[in-house]
Symmetry: C2
């Protein structure tokens, strides 16, 4: 049976990949991905065929993977972070309906929420939500409703895609929504370039976050009502009857 | 400086650990954890000192780690999944305030949400919430509010600690709450023993999940309004203007 591994390579650095992910890439003939991610892994897997497609060409990338697999090649389709979290795993199943002879194996990785949390301290110790601020495929009203409900239920919130050139004020809009239910002094953190060159973290309050500019390589963390700044680390306790 | 690595070992199988996690364990003198997790890694790290404490003795386990580090040993404190998601990272920072000479390094791992998603297909491709049904440290009213808000905002929901001997009806209670806002035919999935012997997945509807018994080694996934069953896999599309 023809096989495609759909592999999350983790935040970026080779060592942040799982052993299983590295073995899948080693066992593949062809590694396919968005150019930036292929460049992250290339040097560690010599002798492989690397194929890339630009951003927003995800369906083409999936078709490319299935066609390579049909030629009898073992293929890995790679994503940064976890392929199952805002990644390619879903689209691979959807496109794969037309290629029933190709088997998919999903290999999970460390998503930016986990990778960024490790840099900040321990912000995600209790219930949390992941919300993408990208309205490319989701209506803004839906994103707005999720931000409001998540804030009202006192979740820790982790924001993916907090900004882009076209959406430079989205983080501010999101903070204004969360401020309807969260205290302005809620402990927040940002991590840019998680696990890559130029990794940088910052702690701040929610009202400071509102006026902070971040880029698309930044993941944003908004604490719950119990989240604390412990010696410069963002830490959420396990619950309400804690140490 | 004395050092403790706080390491998420992933869902269970050695290969599901990151390369960085394996290197931290190799570089440690002493590996500390809950008995079950220590047993999962023991054979791969010969020659180490292994120390364990039983469940619910988490504070003692942290103190043990800091005291070992103060003796000059390089210590790894291990958790299953990601140490930053319902794991020990937060408590280590809190207890660590008393041990300022010990440096912590958090090493993220693949949490059960990501590991289980890979088994089911791709349920977490869009915005999702993690909610623990354990009310050991969190009042049930808070959990209830989070379930209701998450369901109303059409999040995919992943439930940790869905059951225990004392809480055998909690999953049913949680489903009844989510059914106030989610369709009874919402696609759901369960994965038991992720990445370990006896791994088992099941797809079902939310109304079937309501009457399903799960154990404490099971992670539960409730889809959003767009989640589909694609040839036996639980798949959430990337958005609303999809393929």
């Amino acid at each position: 049976m023809n096989k495609i591994y759909v592999v999350g390579i983790g935040p970026g650095a080779y060592e942040k990949m799982t052993i299983e992910a590295a073995e899948a890439l080693k066992g593949s003939d062809t590694i396919i991905g968005y150019t930036v991610y292929v460049d992250l892994v290339k040097e560690h897997f010599p002798g492989k065929t690397f194929l890339t497609t630009p951003m927003k060409k995800e369906v083409d990338r999936c078709i490319m993977a299935f066609e390579e697999a049909q030629k009898g090649h073992v293929v890995s389709m790679i994503c940064s972070g976890d392929t199952g979290v805002y990644g390619m795993a879903g689209l691979m199943y959807e496109v794969g309906v037309k290629y029933p002879e190709v088997e998919l194996e999903i290999i999970a990785g460390v998503t930016a929420a986990s990778g960024g949390a490790a840099v900040l301290g321990a912000p995600l110790i209790h219930d949390f939500c992941l919300i993408s601020l990208s309205d490319l495929l989701t209506p803004w009203e839906k994103i707005e409703s999720r931000l409001l409900h998540a804030a009202e239920a006192d979740f820790v919130i982790c924001l993916y895609n907090p900004s882009s050139k076209k959406r430079s004020d989205y983080l501010m809009k999101a903070c204004d929504l969360m401020l309807r239910h969260k205290d302005p002094d809620t402990v927040c953190g940002t991590v840019a370039n998680i696990g890559r060159e130029g990794e940088e973290m910052q702690l701040m309050t929610l009202k400071e976050l509102r006026d902070t500019k971040v880029d698309m390589f930044t993941t944003v963390f908004i604490g719950n009502s119990q989240t604390k700044n412990v010696d410069g680390h963002m830490v959420t306790p396990r619950g309400y009857r804690n140490v």
